[in-house]
């Protein structure tokens, strides 16, 4: 009896206040042991000397919607550089009164991306929908059909150009990459060695050398009188580059396939193309969806390299805004703004890929 009552007593005793709640959390997560306590204090000190000045610069002493004169004599950030030049940064040299067209194209793209997030909607019809959407976006940018004035591609720029280069780049690089990966796995020596040489060559050189090639060497390849515009040439370089990386990702998926799958397909009497189209690729491509999204992210970031061959993508329009004497010297503000755009896009993509990875994991 005595024992029993004692037990009841202890079960009603609450845990000490220092091991639960806010204090308990701080003790287990920040001050467990002398080393961690020291670390926490050091980090807090670093934050203390760096965060308040930044906040003061960015938010307290800053100006937001003024003209350039108001920025001359302030201590804080001059965010005004962004609203004052926003249309140029986003759209580049696209004709001013036609800028609703790239804006609409971008909205279509975002809507399509959000619509395709759900894996339940991944059907053949979605693929066709994407095809239609890409054509509409292209038409909106280029014009030339009744009702839309044509806009020369040399006037394209800003965020639409960045998105165009990455979306069309990936959409065209994916089939090429799959063909290259199949070629690399092939038993035919000529095809296999061609694919291996291509993939290793492209992966061994920086993208910028391909962009140089597209801007200075490619015109020499064409017969006299034929010219291809600079954006298309850069686009081809990006496709060639991305395809090699996709090929390696897809190869990973192909290698993960069980040998029994091939044998079963053979036993059913399917030929090579049927085996690949109906049995192998649907499974292999599913495995490689998450790494493909990381390829998409790096392709998106890599489009910024077209700055070097003087295409007016998002980064270049920002740079040329900063070379305007009125707004010279506010690089930090402008670059932080552009970095934010890139960050938001990439963050969504990488989060999505992580989620997808988890979902696909439970399926297997």
């Amino acid at each position: 009896m005595e024992d029993n009552s004692q037990q009841q007593d202890t079960s009603t005793v609450k845990p000490p206040v220092t091991s639960v709640g806010a204090i308990g959390w701080v003790r287990t997560n920040l001050f467990n042991g002398p080393f961690n306590s020291l670390l926490t204090l050091g980090v807090l000190y670093l934050l203390w000397i760096s965060v308040p000045p930044f906040v003061r610069w960015a938010f307290v002493d800053s100006v937001w919607m003024t003209d350039y004169m108001a920025c001359r004599n302030i201590d804080g950030a001059c965010w005004s550089v962004i609203p004052a030049n926003l249309r140029f940064i986003i759209f580049g040299f696209y004709p001013h009164d036609l800028q609703w067209r790239p804006l609409l194209a971008m909205i279509i793209l975002v809507v399509m991306l959000f619509y395709s997030q759900d894996r339940k909607r991944w059907k053949k019809s979605l693929l066709y929908l994407w095809g239609v959407a890409l054509v509409i976006m292209g038409l909106l940018m280029k014009g030339g059909v009744p009702g839309l004035t044509p806009v020369e591609s040399s006037q394209w720029g800003g965020l639409p150009l960045t998105l165009l280069l990455s979306v069309f780049g990936l959409a065209s690089a994916y089939p090429v990459g799959i063909i290259l990966a199949l070629g690399r796995q092939s038993k035919m020596p000529v095809i296999k060695s061609l694919c291996v040489v291509y993939i290793e060559l492209i992966r061994g050189v920086p993208l910028i050398s391909l962009l140089f090639m597209s801007s200075v060497v490619f015109p020499l390849f064409l017969p006299e009188g034929v010219t291809v515009n600079a954006i298309l040439r850069a686009q081809v370089a990006i496709i060639m580059f991305t395809a090699a990386y996709i090929a390696e990702v897809v190869r990973g998926g192909l290698q993960g396939m069980n040998k029994g799958q091939y044998e079963a397909a053979d036993a059913l009497g399917l030929n090579y193309f049927q085996t690949m189209r109906l049995i192998i690729l649907p499974q292999a491509l599913k495995i490689v969806i998450p790494p493909s999204v990381s390829i998409l992210i790096s392709a998106f970031k890599d489009t910024s390299l077209v700055v070097i061959i003087a295409l007016y993508d998002l980064l270049k329009t920002t740079q040329s805004t900063l070379s305007d004497p009125k707004w010279m010297g506010f690089s930090a503000e402008a670059y932080i703004f552009v970095a934010l755009i890139y960050f938001v896009c990439c963050f969504f993509m990488s989060n999505y890929s992580r989620r997808l990875e988890q979902e696909l994991n439970t399926d297997l």
Partner: protein
Amino acid sequence: MDNVSSEKTSFFRDPDKLALFYQFVVMVGVGLLAFYLVSNTLANLERQSIATGLGFIDKEASFEIGESLIPYSAADSYGKALLVGVLNTLIVSFIGIVLTVILGTILGVARLSSNWLVSRLSAVYIEVFQDIPVLLQLFFWYAFFYEMLPSPRQALNPFTGLFLCNRGMIFGVPKWHSAHGYMIVAFLVACVIVFFLKRWAKKRQEATGNIFPVFRVALLLFLGLPLAAWLLGGAPTEMNAPRLSGFNFKGGVSVSPEFAALLLGLVLYTAAFVAEVVRAGIQAVSKGQTEAALSIGLKPGQVLNLVILPQSLRVIIPPLTSQMLNLTKNSSLAVAIGYPDFVSVAGTTINQTGQAIEGVAMIMIVYLFFSLSTSAFMNWYNKKIKLVER
């Protein structure tokens, strides 16, 4: 059975013949394309009267290069200018790789820290720096040096001997003294002694089971011998410190803003990726390994050295090398901020000679050489540390 195999199969049903046919078609296709491009190119080169071949290598470059490891002037040849470019690429990649591995390891370990603040901060860093294009980061740091830092007269001086201004980073170094030469020799001697010590200790452990504290003795040798040499050489303490004279600093070692911005951008960007690699490598070793090692009586240091590291390095090394290669390839973005790396020098060469094909081919060959030699080393290393299955 014989009957079946000797029956004549139609051409389209015989995989061997079909394979030959496909390969023939692809070969002809590639050959025709190559012929078309080459003939176009030759016609274009002739029409625009562009020279071909590598004859320009010996000609006078007649352009200056901002910074160079070897003596170079505008009167030197294109070949030498390109060599300067290669060396500049190598030096920035080498220093960048060393710093990236250090910073990336710290961040990767911090990401797994039990300290909530440290692990959160590291996660934020990794996410932010991975998701911003490296070129944008380079532009930012370049602007940081040129716009945000003060002129040499008001240079920031975070601690004695280091100055930050819009002319770059200037820091003091010890003035050369013969004792420094002895220190280098002493260090090399320590290396040799440690090498033999390690072999002897291993043999002794295999023979007797006694463990010799190699690490502590080695540390003592590495630090102690150079220190002794320094003391014997007269303990020189004179510094070659930077001094402001006129509008710029004199003395000390200065790092140009371009170099500093390139290095900073590349290291901060790549370290975020290396941190993820390191984290994955550490997490790949299951907790049971640590517990098992501790339960057979190994000390924590031994657990790390003999059990954890050999296993996690096997996971870490391959992606780590590819990150190092990425850093080397990304160093070609130097051309955008005016640091004279190989791509930038080759670009100038292309502009001056008009020989675009040779120039781009050289860029590709140099980077291919870097990648192929790295992957050759990787394959060798992978074979060496591969699990030996019995």
